[in-house]
Amino acid sequence: MEILRVHFILQRLIQLIPVVFGISIVSFLIIHLIPGDPASIMLGSRATPENVQQLTAQMGLDKPLYDQYLIFLQNLVQGDLGKSILLKQSVNTLISERLGTTFFLVMYASVLSLLVSIPIALWSAMKKDSLLDNGFRTLSIFGLAMPSFWIGILLMLLFSIKIKLFPVSGYGKNFIGHLYYLFLPALTITCSLAPVLVRPLRSKIINVFSSEYIEAARARGLKEHQIILNHVLRNAISGTVTILGVNIGWLLGGSIVIETIFSVPGLGQLLINSILSRDYPIIQGLVLVFAILVIVVNLLTDLCYAWLDPRVDLE
């Protein structure tokens, strides 16, 4: 089993190579797809011809395209994403400084979403078609329909400006601080993510409840809470993990908006600022990092699914 798992991971990592290669081309081309001279666009209207020339030389923009790509790729293989034009810092540092923050936010939001979704789904399933079930259904539709930036602003107005329970912005200094500062951003993401998780989980729970092994578990004399926690939820949850994994790209996208609203110093904020200041090396680096993140999370999701459901054959 372990050998199988290692084999599976290796296989998936090998499959990653062409994908990463493709992404590198896309991210490389970002600079060249904008009409006009990249260097002068990056520097903006106040740049002198000398500045432009200097940047062109520095970035090797005067070389033929395939040469440029090879250099880009070479740097990439060495783990070098280049240098920011405006911030005069290496893109590697800029991204790695903020990666943790975004990762924390995404994880926080996922866990919070699960913590919210599981009881709601369970409750709705056990009281199927009741007032409560329908109430939650309406609430989900509402959460899905409202744009997350609007929900974010609303939560901010309510919890940090009206009742001053949570900070308006920032990240905090330690783990507890992160939990406190990122609560509203994570809650905002939860408002849109939980509805996506609740409905399928609810129907899966209903399904599992009527399955024969739950009846057999009752016949064995297990306590009702044992049955619900160890058997019903345990069997129903694996699908939710997959849905979370599938939504990871969307989650990252969502976190960009949320980070901007709550001024969280994460990748999203970096991306928005770089786009506004046309700092292309950072944008390129972020495109790559985001893409790889999505792929890695999907791999983790598959592993998690296989771990949760022993019947899944990793071949």
């Binding site: 578990a217 009752r218 016949a219 297990l222 306590k223 949760l308 022993p310």
Partner: protein
């Protein structure tokens, strides 16, 4: 000997949105300690519902016991609280379900499920429980149990899974085992193995068995006594040999005739017709419309009550004597 299980005039209804089904209608029977009783009848006759109502595992929210009593070891089970019932299940009364392929939780190792059951009912350390799990698998005849205890259900064959189900049902030495068609889903060769396993364990533990089946072959092999059920009513109950040799109910006679005989070329008769509508409580012989013996008396409740027509032989058939001479 004192009966371990007494079911007395049990009435169960199933209330669906569209209609009410009187699935069990005045069923009375008992099972003595160490005895094997068969509950037979065609599909839909209320065998499973009877069986489940003993453990109060009726389909929710439809199923409800609306009358009669169930006594186990002298105690009235219908007055038990939810908690008392939960403690009784798996400990005093074990149950084996029909389909071993779907009766084990797919995400836990069979050992984990045994340990879970053992530790729910007895104070036993994890380590000892695992030891006991291996012993139980050995008892139900699973080869190299030390290894198989770590298997997931999907890594086992249907026959092995049913053995595991039996191990789960008997792990706390119950006084009564309910087996709802324990072999129907299995291959013929495996069926025999599972049945003899049940007999063997019964002798070892001295428990009583109530086995639900529609297979008279299983009855002949396993049971001391038989309860024949039809449309939620008891038609006949007698010692197995008695019942096969001198059936005293037209429905039983029909059942026996519908069993294919391997040695004869005779074609399978079957009983023509289907179960009557059970959306109201039937107050006559429910078999009337399909019965070749039927006369006008059969439409009266008082003529078709279960009565002792020979020592230890109960029948609800008005024409039991005629049937007896025909057999």
């Amino acid at each position: 000997m004192q009966p371990i299980l007494e079911v007395d005039s049990l009435k169960v209804v199933l209330q669906t949105k569209q209609r009410t089904i009187h699935a069990v209608n005045n069923v009375t029977f008992h099972v003595r300690t160490g005895e094997t009783v068969g509950l037979v009848g065609e599909s839909g006759s209320g065998k499973s519902i009877t069986c489940r109502s003993i453990l109060q595992l009726l389909p929710t929210p439809q199923g409800k016991v609306v009358g009669g009593g169930i006594r186990f070891a002298g105690k009235d089970l219908l007055s038990y609280s939810k908690k008392q019932m939960q403690e009784l299940r798996g400990r005093e009364i074990g149950m084996v379900l029909q389909d071993p392929m779907s009766s084990l939780d797919p995400v836990y190792r069979v050992g984990e499920q045994l340990v879970e059951t053992l530790r729910t009912h007895t104070k036993i350390s994890k380590k000892d429980a695992w030891q006991k799990a291996v012993e139980l698998l050995r008892l139900v005849g699973i080869p190299s149990p030390e290894k198989r205890v770590h298997d997931y259900p999907h890594q086992m064959s249907g026959g092995m899974r049913q053995r595991v189900m039996i191990a789960l049902a008997i792990c706390c030495d119950p006084k009564l085992l309910l087996a709802d068609e324990p072999t129907t889903a299995l291959d013929v060769t495996v069926q025999d193995q599972v049945l003899s396993l049940m007999k063997e364990i019964q002798q070892r533990l001295g428990m009583a068995i109530l086995i639900v089946t529609h297979n008279l072959g299983v009855v002949a092999e396993m049971c001391d006594r038989v309860v024949v059920l039809y449309a939620g009513k008891v038609m006949e109950t007698a010692a197995t040999s008695d019942l096969f040799q001198t059936p005293r109910h037209a429905y039983t006679l029909g059942l026996i005739h519908s069993v294919p005989r391997i040695e004869s070329e005779e074609k399978l008769e079957g009983i023509p017709g289907t179960l009557p509508d059970m959306s109201h409580a039937i107050k006559c012989c429910p078999f009337r419309e399909r019965c070749s013996f039927a006369t006008s008396e059969c439409s009266f409740d008082e003529h078709t009550q279960l009565k002792e027509v020979a020592p230890g032989h109960w029948s609800a058939c008005f024409h039991h004597e005629r049937v007896c001479t025909q057999a």
